[in-house]
C-alpha cells in the first residue's frame, strides 16, 4: 500500500442526461472504501441530493461548484495526498485533466490515484485512442478527427455514408449524430464541432446493424485483470448505449465470440494502463468473427453501475481500493466474504435494462434514438428467462402503467407508424415490435428491417404466443403458471383473460403459486453468500427467509425521471438507515440500478423489483411473520411510492406515518378546500371542473391569468399559466380535456413570491428545519426555481404566519413524518398553493443547509417517537449563519425539439447548491455550479416580450453597467435606445435572413441570453429557435427576469469573491 493518508474525491455534479445517480453510487462506494482502508476522504460535489455529500460518508464535505479555481482552494486547504477523479464520471475526469494541465496537482504534490491521466487521455482523445489500438492490433472503424467542415467533407468523400459524428470530450455523446446522406452531413458536423469543448469531432464509418456488446473490466496495479460482466444490446449499433435496451450476460455469443472480445478487453485495459474499472464497447458483425472497438471509458460509468447491480460485484468499491494500491487477489469478494475479489461473477439469471426517457414530459421532442443519449434514468429487472426479465423491466418503467401489451391507439390501422418506430430506433420500438408481431410480421421481417437479433425477436414472439393463449384459452393454473414464468403480471393476465387481477391472484394462491425469491450472490450458488439481495421468480425454492425481527418496508422511487430524481433515493437510503438505527430491520424495494438504495449493504434486505402493486404486495407477503406484514414506508419514494400507498392500504397492508386519508385530503381538491376553510387558511381561488364550459366559466369569474392543470399530476406535468380565454381554449384542445374521469383544476394565478416549507410532524407537534424562498415569482415550477435558505425578503410577520399555518396544517392532517407546503405571498396575504404529505425534492438540500437530519427524524416519528423524544423543540429551527441557494440544472441541450423556457411544468433534471456566508456569493456560486458561468464581460443578447420590456429595462441597464455589450432584436433594441439611451447592436429576427439571432448564438457571439416568452405564436417560434440554439451551444439563457435580476445582483455584489469551507464549517460560523 502506498503511503496515503488523505484523498480528494471529485463528484460528478448535478444530474444531467448522461450523468445520473450512478456517480453518487460510485462516489459513496469510494468513500466507504476509503474509510475501510483508514484513509481520510475529502469530497467535493455541487449536488446536495447525494449520499456522498453526507458528512458521515466522507470525512470532509465541500458542497462547492466543480471548477478548477475552487478545487484548487480545497486542495490548498486540505493538502490531500491523492486525487480520485474516476468516480465522478466525465466531469470528474475532465476536471482531473484540467487540474493536471493547470499544474495544480504538481504544485501541491497531489498524486492522481488509480487510472493515470495519460490513460485518460488515451481513452478520451480519439486520435490517441486510435493510435493505441492500432499499436496493439485491435481493430477500430475507419475514422478521422476533424476540426473543420472542409476536413469533414474530405473524409466523407473517401469513406461514404452513413457516418457517425462524435464530438470529443462531451458526456452522454452530447452533440453527436448519424449522417445518412450528404444533405444531413454538414448540420450534424457543425453541431458536433460546437458542442465539443475543444471543437473537435470524430467522423467514423458506421457499423449500423452490427451487434453491440460491452465488457466491464478491472485491473489492479500488479496487472491482474478480470472482466466483471458482459452485456449485449437489444438495439444493434447506432443507438447510444445509454439509450439501448441491454441484456446481461450476452445472449447470442458463443464461447468463442465471448472469449475473443474478453481477451481483447483485457488487452485494451492493459495497454491503457487503467488501474480500476473500465468499460469497453464493441461492434460485432452478426455474420463473422469481425469486430471493432467502438469506445472505452477509463472510469466507472453508468454501465459499471449496472454491471455491479446485475452481478453483485461492487466495481466502484473495488476500483477505489485498487486506486489506493490494493490488489484484486488480496481483496475478498464482499458478497461471499470468503472467496476472492479476483474472480469473474457467474450469473444464473437474465438481467434486462431499459432506459427511462423524458418524452412523456416533452411531447415535442424528437423521439428517435441515436448517438446522443436522451434517457434520464433506467430500470433493471432480474429473472430466470429473457421473457420474464423483459416483462418485469417494462413493468418497472412506471410509464403510465404501460406493459408490453400497450399500443398507441394511433397505430390501429396504421402499420407505417409501427414500422417507422422499428426502423428508426425510437423509444417505443419495443412496443412497436410487439405490435408488428401481433399483426403477423415474422421475427425475420423485423430483423431485416431493424437489425435486431432474431433471438430477441423470437423471445418476444414467445410472449405474444402466451398473450394469444391467454386471450383464447380458459385460465387454468397451468396457463397462469406458464404466463407467470414469462413475467406476465396478474393485471396483464386479467386483462387478456377478461377477469380481474384479484381473481388471478386468488387462482394463483389456491393453486399454491407464489413467487419465490432468489439471491444475487455473484457466483450462481457455487458458494454460500450471506448477502440479502433478492429478486422474484416463479421457481420451486425460496431463499429469502425473514428473521422474524420487527421490520419495515421502504418503497424506493424507481427510475430517475424529470420530477422524480435522485433526491428520493437519498431519502429512501436515509430512511432505511434510520430504521436500522432504531432497531428495526429495513427492507428496501427498488428497480433502479444506478442508486445507493439498491446497494446490497444499504438496507437489511434488498428486493430488486419493479415497483408495481403486485410485486410490492408479494414482497410484503414474503416478509410477513405469523401472517402479519411489516408496515410500509411510502413517504420517501416520491410519487411512485405515494401512488402505491392507497392500493396497498386497500389490500390490507399497513402504511407507516401519515395515513392514506391525509394523502387523500391533501390531494383531493374538494376535500383540501374544505380542510383549509375549516382552518381559515387562504388558497388561490379556483375550482375543479369536469366540463369544458365550466372551465371557461370558472376562468371568466376568476379573471385571467389562471393556472390550468390536470388533477393528480407529478412534476407539474401539463400545467400552464393561461393569459386569456383563447389560450385556455387552446390548452383544453391540445393538452387535456376535462371529464369526470380526468378533472382539470383552474386556479387564479397569483404573481407573488413563492415560499416553500418542509416540516416534520409527529402527529401533533411540527419541526420546521427551514424556509426556502424562490427567486422566480410564482408560475415557475418549484423544481425549476432557484431557491434560497434562509429567505431574504420574508418579513418577521410573514414568517410568523408561515409558521402558524404550517403547524396547523400538519396537526390538522395529523401528519406523521414529512410534509412539504408551498405558499405564495401576494398582496400582503399568505396563500397555500399545495401540501404534499411526503418527502419533497428539497429535503436533501434543506438537510444539508440546516444540519437537521430530516429523513431520520421523519422515519422515527412514523414509528411512534415524538419530536420531544428525539430531542427537538417544535417550531422553526433558528437559521444557520449561511446562505444556501438551490439552482436547477437542465439537460435540454440533448433533447432536440424541446423548448427551454421556464413555466409551471418541470423541465430540469438536476440541481446544485451554492453555499456561502452572503446571499450574493451563494447565489453566484449556485449560478456557476449550474452552468450559468458568465464572464464579467462579453455580450448580452436580449429579446424581451412587449409586456416585460419596462420591467426588463433596469436589469438590462445593470448588465450594461457591469460591462456587458448589448445585442438585441429590433423591438427590444428600440426600447433600449429610447428608454435607456444605451448603445445597442441590432440582431435580425429569424425571418430576416442571415445572420439572424440564431446564427449569433450558434456562433458563440453571445455570452448570455435573456429572452422572455410572449403568448404570440410567431414569437414563440422565434424564441424557440433562439432558446434551442442557446441550449445546444451551452450558452446560458434566462427566460425569467427574476433569474436575470438575481444574476446581475450576484455578479455585482459577489464580485467573484467566495469562501471555501466544508458544509459544517459554514453552518457553524460565518467565514
Amino acid at each position: 500500500m502506498p503511503d496515503l493518508s488523505s484523498v480528494l474525491i471529485v463528484g460528478s455534479g448535478p444530474i444531467v442526461i448522461g450523468q445520473a445517480a450512478e456517480f453518487d453510487y460510485a462516489g459513496t462506494q469510494a468513500c466507504k472504501a476509503m474509510r475501510e482502508e483508514g484513509v481520510r476522504s475529502i469530497l467535493i460535489n455541487s449536488n446536495p441530493a447525494t449520499i456522498m455529500t453526507d458528512e458521515d460518508i466522507a470525512d470532509r464535505v465541500y458542497i462547492e461548484p466543480l471548477t478548477v479555481p475552487l478545487i484548487e482552494r480545497v486542495i490548498a486547504r486540505e493538502r490531500p495526498d491523492g486525487l480520485l477523479a474516476s468516480m465522478g464520471g466525465q466531469t470528474g475526469l475532465n476536471l482531473a485533466v484540467d487540474l493536471a494541465d493547470a499544474g495544480i496537482l504538481d504544485k501541491y504534490g497531489v498524486r492522481v490515484l488509480g487510472t493515470p491521466i495519460e490513460a485518460v487521455r488515451d481513452g478520451e482523445d480519439r486520435e490517441r485512442f486510435r493510435a493505441l489500438m492500432q499499436r496493439i492490433g485491435e481493430p477500430v472503424p475507419q475514422s478521422r478527427i476533424v476540426t473543420s467542415l472542409p476536413e469533414a467533407w474530405d473524409f466523407a468523400q473517401t469513406c461514404g455514408f452513413p457516418l457517425i459524428i462524435r464530438p470529443a470530450y462531451t458526456l452522454g455523446g452530447s452533440g453527436g449524430g448519424v449522417a445518412y446522406h450528404e444533405d444531413e452531413f454538414e448540420a450534424v458536423v457543425s453541431l458536433g464541432l460546437q458542442t465539443s469543448p475543444i471543437r473537435q469531432v470524430l467522423i467514423e464509418r458506421s457499423l449500423i446493424g452490427w451487434k453491440e456488446v460491452e465488457y466491464e473490466v478491472m485491473r489492479d496495479g500488479a496487472d491482474n485483470c478480470i472482466t466483471v460482466c458482459n452485456m449485449e444490446n437489444f438495439d444493434p449499433m447506432g443507438v447510444h448505449t445509454g439509450d439501448s435496451i441491454v441484456f446481461a450476460p450476452s445472449q447470442t455469443l458463443s464461447d468463442k465470440e465471448y472469449q475473443m472480445l474478453r481477451s481483447a478487453s483485457l488487452k485494451i485495459i492493459r495497454a491503457l494502463g487503467v488501474e480500476g474499472g473500465c468499460n469497453i464497447q464493441f461492434g460485432l458483425d452478426p455474420n463473422s468473427f469481425d469486430y471493432f472497438v467502438i469506445e472505452v471509458n477509463p472510469r466507472v460509468s453508468r454501465s459499471s453501475a449496472l454491471a455491479s447491480k446485475a452481478t453483485g460485484y461492487p466495481i466502484a468499491r473495488i476500483a477505489a481500493k485498487i486506486a489506493l494500491g490494493r490488489r484484486l487477489d488480496d481483496l475478498r469478494n464482499p458478497i461471499t466474504q470468503t472467496t476472492s475479489a479476483a474472480f469473474e461473477p457467474a450469473l444464473d439469471y437474465v438481467v434486462t435494462k431499459i432506459p427511462r426517457w423524458p418524452f412523456d414530459k416533452f411531447a415535442r421532442a424528437d423521439r428517435r434514438l441515436g448517438t446522443q443519449m436522451k434517457a434520464t434514468g433506467e430500470v433493471m429487472a432480474i429473472e430466470r428467462t429473457l421473457e420474464a426479465s423483459l416483462n418485469k423491466a417494462v413493468r418497472g418503467m412506471e410509464n403510465g402503467g404501460r406493459t408490453l401489451l400497450w399500443e398507441d391507439p394511433e397505430w390501429a390501422g396504421n402499420e407505417s407508424a409501427i414500422w417507422w418506430r422499428i426502423e428508426h430506433a425510437h423509444d417505443e420500438r419495443l412496443w412497436a415490435v410487439m405490435a408488428a408481431l401481433r399483426r403477423g410480421a415474422t421475427p425475420d421481417d423485423i430483423n431485416r428491417r431493424s437489425g435486431i437479433d432474431r433471438f430477441f425477436l423470437d423471445k418476444m414472439a414467445n410472449i405474444l404466443a402466451t398473450e394469444r393463449r391467454l386471450l383464447a384459452e380458459p385460465l387454468t393454473p397451468d396457463l397462469v403458471w406458464h404466463a407467470k414464468r414469462q413475467g406476465f403480471s396478474d393485471a396483464m393476465i386479467a386483462s387478456l383473460g377478461d377477469t380481474l387481477p384479484e381473481r388471478v391472484r386468488e387462482l394463483r394462491e389456491s393453486a399454491g403459486m407464489r413467487p419465490t425469491f432468489k439471491m444475487v450472490d455473484t457466483c450462481a450458488a457455487e458458494f454460500d453468500a450471506a448477502t440479502p439481495y433478492f429478486w422474484s421468480t416463479y421457481e420451486s425454492e425460496n431463499e429469502a427467509v425473514t428473521s422474524g425481527e420487527p421490520a419495515a418496508v421502504v418503497l424506493g422511487s424507481g427510475p430517475i425521471r424529470i420530477g422524480q430524481g435522485i433526491e428520493f433515493d437519498y431519502c429512501s437510503v436515509h430512511s432505511a438507515w434510520a430504521l436500522e438505527n432504531a432497531g428495526r430491520e429495513s427492507v428496501l424495494i427498488n428497480s433502479n440500478p444506478e442508486t445507493v438504495s439498491t446497494d446490497f449493504d444499504t438496507s437489511t434486505r434488498l428486493y430488486f423489483e419493479a415497483l408495481d402493486e403486485e410485486n410490492v404486495a408479494e414482497v410484503l407477503r414474503n416478509e410477513s411473520t405469523n401472517g402479519s406484514a411489516p408496515p410500509i414506508v411510502a413517504q420517501f419514494g416520491g410519487q411512485t411510492a405515494i401512488n402505491l400507498a392507497g392500493p396497498l392500504y386497500n389490500a390490507g397492508f399497513q402504511i407507516a406515518g401519515s395515513g392514506v386519508a391525509a394523502i387523500d385530503e391533501a390531494e383531493n381538491r374538494d376535500k383540501f378546500d374544505r380542510f383549509l376553510e375549516r382552518l381559515g387558511i387562504l388558497r388561490p381561488p379556483g375550482a375543479t371542473v369536469t366540463r369544458i364550459r365550466d372551465a371557461l366559466d370558472v376562468a371568466d369569474s376568476l379573471g385571467y391569468p389562471v393556472v390550468a392543470r390536470p388533477s393528480y399530476v407529478l412534476g407539474g406535468r401539463a400545467m400552464q399559466v393561461v393569459d386569456d380565454r383563447a389560450e385556455l381554449e387552446s390548452y383544453i384542445e391540445k393538452v387535456t380535456q376535462p371529464s369526470p374521469e380526468h378533472p382539470v383544476l383552474i386556479d387564479k394565478y397569483l404573481q407573488g413570491r413563492e415560499v416553500e416549507v418542509d416540516a416534520i410532524c409527529d402527529g401533533r407537534d411540527s419541526l420546521i428545519p427551514g424556509i426556502m424562498e424562490h427567486i422566480e415569482r410564482a408560475g415557475v415550477h418549484s423544481g425549476d426555481s432557484f431557491a434560497v435558505y434562509p429567505p431574504v425578503s420574508v418579513t418577521p410577520d410573514e414568517e410568523a404566519v408561515l409558521l402558524d399555518y404550517t403547524q396547523r396544517i400538519c396537526a390538522g392532517l395529523r401528519v406523521r413524518g414529512l410534509v412539504n407546503i408551498q405558499y405564495v405571498l401576494f398582496g400582503g396575504q399568505v396563500y397555500v398553493l399545495e401540501v404534499n404529505p411526503r418527502a419533497s425534492r428539497t429535503v436533501p438540500f434543506l438537510s444539508k443547509a440546516t444540519g437537521v437530519p430530516m429523513v431520520k427524524l421523519a422515519t422515527r416519528v412514523m414509528f411512534d417517537a415524538t419530536l420531544a423524544d428525539l430531542g427537538y423543540e417544535p417550531g422553526l429551527v433558528p437559521s444557520r449563519p449561511l446562505f444556501a441557494v438551490k439552482a436547477p440544472v437542465f439537460s435540454t441541450g440533448k433533447l432536440s425539439g424541446v423548448d427551454t423556457y421556464l413555466g409551471p411544468e418541470m423541465k430540469s433534471t438536476g440541481e446544485v447548491m451554492g453555499v456561502d456566508a452572503t446571499f450574493p456569493a451563494a447565489l453566484h456560486k449556485a449560478m456557476i455550479a449550474s452552468g450559468i458561468d458568465v464572464p464579467a464581460s462579453g455580450d448580452l443578447l436580449v429579446s424581451i416580450a412587449d409586456r416585460d420590456k419596462s420591467e426588463a429595462a433596469p436589469i438590462v441597464a445593470d448588465f450594461a453597467d457591469l460591462g456587458f455589450g448589448l445585442l438585441a432584436t429590433d423591438g427590444t433594441a428600440d426600447y433600449i435606445e429610447t428608454h435607456l439611451e444605451l448603445p445597442v447592436r441590432r440582431v435580425g429576427k429569424m425571418r430576416s435572413g442571415s445572420p439572424n439571432v440564431e446564427d449569433f448564438i450558434r456562433e458563440g457571439r453571445a455570452a448570455l441570453v435573456i429572452n422572455t416568452l410572449t403568448g404570440r405564436r410567431e414569437a414563440i417560434q422565434d424564441g424557440h429557435y433562439m432558446r434551442r440554439a442557446a441550449a445546444e451551444t451551452r450558452t446560458p439563457c434566462l427566460t425569467s427576469l427574476d433569474t436575470a435580476q438575481a444574476l446581475a445582483a450576484a455578479l455585482r455584489e459577489a464580485r467573484g469573491e467566495f469562501a471555501v469551507q466544508t458544509i459544517d464549517e459554514y453552518r457553524a460560523a460565518p467565514a
Binding site: 450476452s250 468463442k256 472467496t339 393454473p477
Partner: protein, 399 residues
C-alpha cells in the same frame, strides 16, 4: 413401455426435480455436478472429463446460439445427461447448424429442462457430489398431468415413480469406482492433423517443430490445437501406453492431459508418468496434474463439490499474479501429502479455497496445473502455460 416428455432428475439424497425431457429417450445416470460457465455448453458436453456425469448448467438459458461443427472438444458428447432451466427453442448465431436437442439425441444422451437449477445447484453445494438418474416418465405416469402439476411433483403417481428413481440413483456404481479413462482415450496412436485455430490471434510459433507426446486420458481438442498451432508435432497415445511406447515416438516433451474419473483409477498412466519424470519435460493438465501428483507419491482426495466453471481464480506463486481459469475437476492433490524431498512444490493455489492448482519441480522440467490452460470454454488468459512448457522443451533440447 412408451415414454413421455415428462422427466425427473432424482438424486440419491431423495431430492427430485420434475421437468421436461429433451435429447435421447434413454435414461441417464451418473454423478450430478454443476458448471457455472455462462457460455460453452457445446464444449462442455463434448469434454470427455464429464464422462459419467450429469451436468447442471447454472446459467438458465442454454442453446441460445445452437450447435456448430467447430466447437467440439472431442469426437462426441460424453456427458451422461444435461440439466437446464430452459433449452432455447430457437437459436441465433451465424455458425449455428444444429442444436443441443438433436445433438444429444443423436448420441443417446438425455436432457431435462424446466427445473429449478439454482435449487439443484444449492443442493449439490450443500450436500456435495451425488449420484442421480435422469429419466423420462412412462406415459402412464405422466398421463393427464399438465406441466404445472408435473413440475410441482405432488401427484401421487409421479411421487411414487420418482421415489423409484431415487432408489435407482442409489444403485449407480459410485464415481470413484468407475474406470472411465479407458473408455474415452483414443483407440490407437494418432498423429494430430492440421487444426482450425479459434478466432483469436495465432500464438507464437516454435522453431524446429518440437515433438510432443500427448498421453490421452480424455483429451480436449483445444489442447491439441494449442500445441499444433504453435508448430508442434503431436503424437496422441492411448491410455495404457508404457514409458517405452511414449519414448518410441521420440518426444521432446510429454503432455498428460485432462480426463474423467478418480485419478487413482488411472493406474497405468500413473506408472508411465512416474517413469517419465526426469527423462522428458512433462506438463500435466487437470487429470494429468492429479496423475503427476500420485506418481510422485502424493495423495488425492475429493473436493466437496468440485470446481467447474470459467471463472475460477488462481494465484501463480512464482509470479505472484492472479489468473482467471477454466476448471472442471472434482479431485485435488493434497498439499500436505507432497513428499518432502521429492523436489515438488505447490506452484499455484486456488484463491477461493486455497486448494492446490499446480505443481512444479525445483530443477526438473516438470510442472502441472489443475486448471485448463486450453480453456474452451473459458478465458484464454492461460495459454501462456503452453509457451512455458515449450520453453522447457526447447531448453531441454538445447542442453
Amino acid at each position: 413401455m412408451p415414454v413421455s416428455d415428462h422427466a425427473v432428475l432424482a438424486l440419491e439424497t431423495g431430492d427430485t426435480f420434475f421437468g421436461f425431457a429433451f435429447g435421447a429417450e434413454a435414461p441417464g445416470a451418473g454423478e450430478v455436478v454443476f458448471n457455472t460457465s455462462m457460455t460453452g455448453y457445446q464444449e462442455i458436453s463434448t469434454d470427455a472429463s464429464y464422462r459419467g456425469q450429469i451436468v447442471v448448467m447454472t446459467y438458465p438459458l442454454i442453446d441460445n446460439y445452437g450447435v456448430n461443427p467447430d466447437d467440439v472438444e472431442s469426437r462426441r458428447p460424453w456427458i451422461a445427461g444435461l440439466a437446464v432451466r430452459e433449452l432455447a427453442p430457437t437459436h441465433s448465431n451465424w455458425r449455428q447448424q444444429s442444436d443441443m436437442q438433436s445433438f444429444l439425441a443423436q448420441h443417446g444422451i438425455p436432457g431435462i429442462q424446466g427445473i429449478d437449477t439454482r435449487a439443484l445447484t444449492r443442493t449439490l453445494r450443500i450436500k456435495g457430489h451425488k449420484r442421480g438418474v435422469l429419466r423420462r416418465a412412462p406415459a402412464a405416469v405422466a398421463n393427464g398431468l399438465d406441466p404445472f402439476t408435473w413440475i410441482r411433483g405432488q401427484a401421487p403417481s409421479a411421487k411414487a415413480w420418482a421415489a423409484e428413481q431415487v432408489q435407482a440413483a442409489r444403485r449407480v456404481l459410485p464415481y470413484s469406482e468407475q474406470r472411465y479413462v479407458a473408455e474415452v482415450t483414443t483407440p490407437d496412436r494418432q498423429v494430430a492433423g492440421p487444426v482450425r485455430w479459434a478466432p483469436w490471434p495465432t500464438p507464437p510459433q516454435r522453431a524446429g517443430s518440437p515433438r510432443i507426446a500427448l498421453l490421452d486420458v480424455g483429451v480436449k481438442t483445444n489442447i491439441v490445437r494449442s500445441l499444433v498451432s504453435r508448430g508442434c508435432h503431436v503424437d496422441v497415445l492411448p491410455y495404457g501406453a508404457s514409458v517405452h511406447e511414449v519414448e518410441g515416438t521420440d518426444p521432446d516433451g510429454v503432455l498428460v492431459c485432462n480426463g474423467p474419473g478418480d485419478p487413482e483409477q488411472a493406474d497405468q498412466a500413473i506408472e508411465t508418468v512416474r517413469d517419465l519424470i526426469g527423462r522428458r519435460p512433462l506438463m500435466g493438465v487437470c487429470l494429468g496434474h492429479q496423475i503427476l501428483g500420485l506418481a510422485i507419491g502424493a495423495t488425492t482426495s475429493r473436493l466437496p463439490y468440485g470446481h467447474r466453471g470459467a471463472n475460477q481464480p488462481i494465484k501463480d506463486l512464482d509470479t505472484g499474479r492472479a489468473h482467471i481459469t477454466s476448471q472442471n475437476h472434482g479431485f485435488q492433490v493434497d498439499a500436505a501429502s507432497i513428499p518432502p524431498g521429492s523436489g515438488f512444490r505447490v506452484s499455484h493455489v486456488n484463491l477461493n479455497d486455497g486448494s492446490v492448482e499446480g505443481l512444479a519441480h525445483d530443477s526438473l522440467p516438470v510442472f502441472s496445473v489443475q486448471y485448463h490452460p486450453e480453456a474452451s470454454p473459458g478465458p484464454q488468459d492461460n495459454q501462456y502455460l503452453f509457451d512455458r512448457f515449450l520453453d522447457l522443451v526447447d531448453d531441454n533440447r538445447r542442453s
